[in-house]
């Protein structure tokens, strides 16, 4: 996949100066492809009982909406304002100070004023004002009120699916107005009349049926784990156990399904398998809950809840004590901020306790699910695993904080601690691009499709740029991250904006460095790339990436 325009050509099209025309007078052009997603397939929409399943596409004239679609949306809005204080408040208190404006990666990469979080939100707010406030009813456009017309709906579709719900804007807003929350609810409203995208609806339907987004059936799941076991044996000489759907295990492990099919996710999976084996961990995989991620959270609270419910249900069925979760971004937003409320409290589970170190994870005492990086950092701190960081000496890493763990959780130090212990070369990107200010990959929240490629490259520009900075100045050659969507989409972003840098997972590096009892001498890393031998260990850093196209 690649974009016709070269990076510098794309960059030149960006202009932060807004057009002359008032924003209520501009519209969207669906003729121009590359910056929106295609519509949800009727089969998927129907499978999860969502409204108005039909064949339609955004570029078509007729969206085949129900006759009373406005009424449905306004009724839905009324209901949600009563249900969500966030929505009610965010509709009322924005002062349009503009502090959020240039914080959004989509605005920075496109210059489209409606990608300023404040205007994205105004798209919904304007309708709210028209319908629910007196000033809006009386004074209309003057006070930013407009009617919900088909044209406005088109803009909703376009711009609310041009927000990756990354919450960067929310960090900077003096009132904490979270445009991600507004996007969340706007998508939910559109879904009431059957406006959604396939890259959300089909994975969600798959997950409902087979337990994972990719639609992998149980035997396929077993196959792919067995495949991974063989690969790991070739590399380490050790044949690991594969507990699947095992009743009575101590820990249920759940990770995004991309980990056992996608690349470079797969190398992280090898890392997990190696680590769990070395620890002799009493754990199990589940085919029924074989998805950590939750594409339901990209369309509605309803679908999010139904998909997420499998976690606790499966933990109960298998009789485990607690749940451990793999590397992922939005998965952790759902687990951390929603799961317990949606489907808990899971009183049948025990407070998570590491069987290796005895550490009790007090911070997860109610939700009973621990992040793998919390788990591993604790192992390293207690020196419970043997590591040889020099096995990662062919890498010089930087770390991409995924939006959700950063801004919906605050998981910042754990991965860094791990990285610094399993490898020798690590450089941070500039402060304005990491931790709570991290930039999105540009493809989250269901936007990671081919048809949306131009917008993804635009949205990925700030991240790509920061990577390029440490590539050029410090010789960074791998971008580590802890998110399945990142692993799927950052390679494209990096290839485009900062070629020569690879993308990998934190537990891939753990797997490389982990000295396993009885292992053979490692010739390669988990990617089957030869390791640097101590005698040939010369500085390779700085030579990478220079031969970009």
């Amino acid at each position: 996949m690649s974009l016709k325009q070269k990076p510098d050509e794309l960059f030149k099209t960006i202009d932060f100066k807004p057009p002359k025309k008032h924003w209520m007078d501009t519209t969207v052009d669906f003729e121009k492809r590359g910056s929106y997603n295609y519509a949800g397939s009727p089969d998927s929409v129907a499978y999860i009982n969502q409204p108005n399943p039909r064949k339609w596409q955004p570029y078509e004239e007729d969206w085949k909406l129900p006759d009373n679609w406005q009424e449905i949306i306004l009724e839905g809005l009324r209901e949600r304002i009563k249900k969500f204080r966030s929505l009610q408040l965010f509709m009322d208190i924005c002062v349009r100070c503009g502090a959020c404006a240039d914080k959004c990666h989509f605005f920075i990469g496109s210059g489209d004023p409606k990608n300023m979080p404040v205007l994205r939100a105004e798209l919904l707010r304007s309708v709210y004002r028209k319908e629910f406030t007196k000033a809006g009813k009386l004074m209309g456009k003057m006070v930013g009120a407009q009617e919900l017309t088909f044209d406005v709906l088109k803009q909703w579709f376009y711009y609310f699916y041009q927000c990756t719900q990354c919450r960067r804007c929310s960090v900077f807003c003096p009132y904490g107005i979270d445009t991600a929350e507004i996007t969340f609810l706007a998508r939910e409203l559109m879904n009431l009349i059957g406006i959604n995208i396939d890259w959300v609806m089909t994975p969600a339907a798959n997950c409902h049926r087979t337990g994972n987004h990719l639609g992998i059936q149980p035997h396929g799941f077993v196959d792919s784990l067995e495949f991974a076991r063989d690969d790991l044996e070739d590399i380490t000489g050790i044949r690991v156990d594969l507990p699947i759907n095992k009743k009575g295990a101590e820990i249920l492990f759940i990770t995004p399904s991309a980990d056992y099919f996608g690349e470079p996710h797969y190398f992280t999976l090898l890392g997990y398998l190696a680590l769990f084996h070395e620890l002799q961990l009493d754990y199990t995989w589940s085919t029924y809950a074989s998805e950590g991620g939750n594409f339901g959270s990209f369309v509605s609270h309803e679908v999010m809840k139904a998909l997420n419910a499998k976690f606790y249900a499966e933990a109960k069925r298998l009789g485990v004590k607690w749940i451990l979760g793999g590397e992922c971004g939005h998965m952790w937003r759902v687990i951390h901020q929603y799961m317990n409320t949606l489907n808990g409290p899971p009183d049948f589970l025990e407070i998570p306790k590491s069987p290796i170190t005895g550490t009790v994870f007090e911070n997860a005492k109610s939700a009973k699910m621990v992040h793998i990086s919390e788990f591993t950092a604790d192992l390293i701190k207690h020196k419970k695993i043997k590591l040889d960081p020099s096995r990662n000496d062919h890498w010089h890493a930087t770390f991409h904080d995924s939006c959700n763990p950063a801004r919906g959780m605050g998981l910042l130090e754990e991965p860094r601690y791990i990285i610094k212990n399993v490898m020798n070369n690590f450089t941070e990107m500039p402060d304005s691009c990491i931790r709570e200010q991290t930039f999105c990959c540009g493809s989250g929240a269901g936007l990671g499709t081919e048809e949306n490629l131009e917008m993804r490259m635009r949205g990925g520009m700030p991240r790509g740029n920061a990577v390029k900075y440490v590539r050029d100045n410090n010789g960074v050659n791998i971008l580590l991250c802890m998110c399945a969507i990142d692993k799927a989409t950052l390679p494209g972003v990096v290839d485009y904006w900062s070629p020569g840098v690879e993308v990998g997972g934190v537990h891939e590096m753990v797997g490389n460095a982990l000295i396993m009892t009885g292992e053979k001498e490692r010739e390669t890393d988990l990617r089957n790339q030869p390791l640097l031998k101590p005698d040939t260990l010369e500085k390779v850093q700085g030579n990478e990436g220079k031969e970009g196209k």
Binding site: L89, V222, F361, N363, K365, N465
Partner: protein, 351 residues
């Protein structure tokens, strides 16, 4: 458009006030009836608005975390930007309300040579925003010299501090000047910053202009035209003690403008974005502790079947569909495969 409208609106309001000052028969309307109405609208309006917000529940704990969370004991938590306790939340909110913590982070994205992009620090909005709000607060408190008899103790302190540099006669109050300077900056920013101009509405220009007009007339009265302060105080104390009096003829028309616009501000406040004053305290991304996995957060409408229509696809349904395949893959089963392998989905038991 919004700008022009706001200017006209302010002009009309000023003319109204001048007319009020010029026609003695109208004085009681402007200094008695209107203030009571305005104060009533302000109080009732603000309460109604806040209650309306408060009535919507907070179904999920969606804290925006801006620092390290509380996790392992040896990892240092950022207790203010990512609080996990009520004390931390109070600290975070105090920083937000008193010092505009989030706005302090502000950066400015700039496109550079090649495909570079830079994020410079920019503290202007923060600085002038803070200057405006603090000045406004202090000016407001200083006004208790006119509202209350005897003059409250804090007024003296504030006046001494505020006039610290002892410039001019009468002594120049820094906050008065600061207020006007900051408002001017905020207003010019709306006009000259293209992005901010693009998002600005009448409802953004109007309050700024209103406040500018109030501040300007106040400053004029203090430093340029003499007004009968004793008479003014009688009016104010009269209103607040519910013994309104007919104002003396010696009160300058400037006062009528100033006072009228303040009444407009009070009336406008509850229905406008100025309600951010109350809203900032209720914002769920800021006023909740990030203790999500530590403590259960209840959603009062979690059992709303109309909202959560889709139910979990159960393990039993799943196994029924895939039992044969699962057996083939050597996976444990809850129920054995019956002799005749069921076709996918056909022999499901109904629940």
């Amino acid at each position: 458009m919004g700008l022009l409208f706001s200017i006209i609106a302010i002009a009309v309001l000023i003319i109204l006030a001048i007319a009020g000052a010029a026609i003695p028969g109208l004085h009681p309307v402007f200094t008695v009836a209107l203030p009571y109405l305005a104060i009533a609208i302000f109080i009732v309006g603000v309460i109604v608005r806040v209650l309306k917000w408060a009535k919507s529940p907070v179904p999920f704990r969606i804290t925006t975390t801006s620092g390290q969370e509380k996790s392992l004991p040896w990892i240092k938590q950022n207790k203010l930007d990512n609080p996990s306790s009520s004390l931390g939340v109070i600290g975070r909110m105090a920083l937000e309300v008193l010092f505009f913590r989030s706005l302090f982070r502000n950066t400015k994205a700039e496109l550079k040579e090649g495909t570079k992009i830079a994020y410079g620090e920019t503290k202007w909005l923060w600085a002038f925003g803070l200057l405006f709000h603090w000045s406004f607060l202090i000016v407001f408190l200083r006004h208790f010299r006119f509202f209350a008899d005897p003059i409250p103790f804090f007024v003296k302190y504030l006046e001494t501090l505020d006039g610290f540099f002892q410039i001019g006669v009468p002594i120049v109050y820094l906050t008065g000047i600061g207020l006007l300077v900051a408002l001017t900056y905020l207003f010019l920013r709306r006009i000259f910053d293209a992005k901010v101009k693009y998002i600005s509405l009448a409802s953004d220009y109007f309050p700024l202009l209103l406040l500018i007009a109030i501040a300007t007339t106040g400053i004029i009265m203090r430093y340029y035209v003499k007004t009968d302060l004793v008479a003014i105080k009688q009016v104010a104390v009269g209103i607040l003690s519910f013994h309104p009096i007919t104002p003396a003829e010696t009160i300058s028309p400037w006062f009528y403008i100033h006072f009228f616009l303040v009444n407009v501000l009070l009336i406008y406040f509850p229905m406008s974005k100025l309600m951010h004053m109350g809203g900032v305290f209720l914002s769920p991304t800021r006023n909740l502790a990030n203790n999500n996995r530590m403590a259960y957060h209840e959603n009062p409408w979690i059992n709303d079947e109309n909202y959560f229509k889709l139910h979990r696809h159960t393990y039993e349904e799943y196994e029924d569909e895939f039992r044969v395949l699962m057996k083939g893959a050597g996976l444990p089963l809850e129920k054995e495969v019956v002799n005749q392998p069921a076709k996918d989905g056909t022999e499901k038991e109904d629940k």
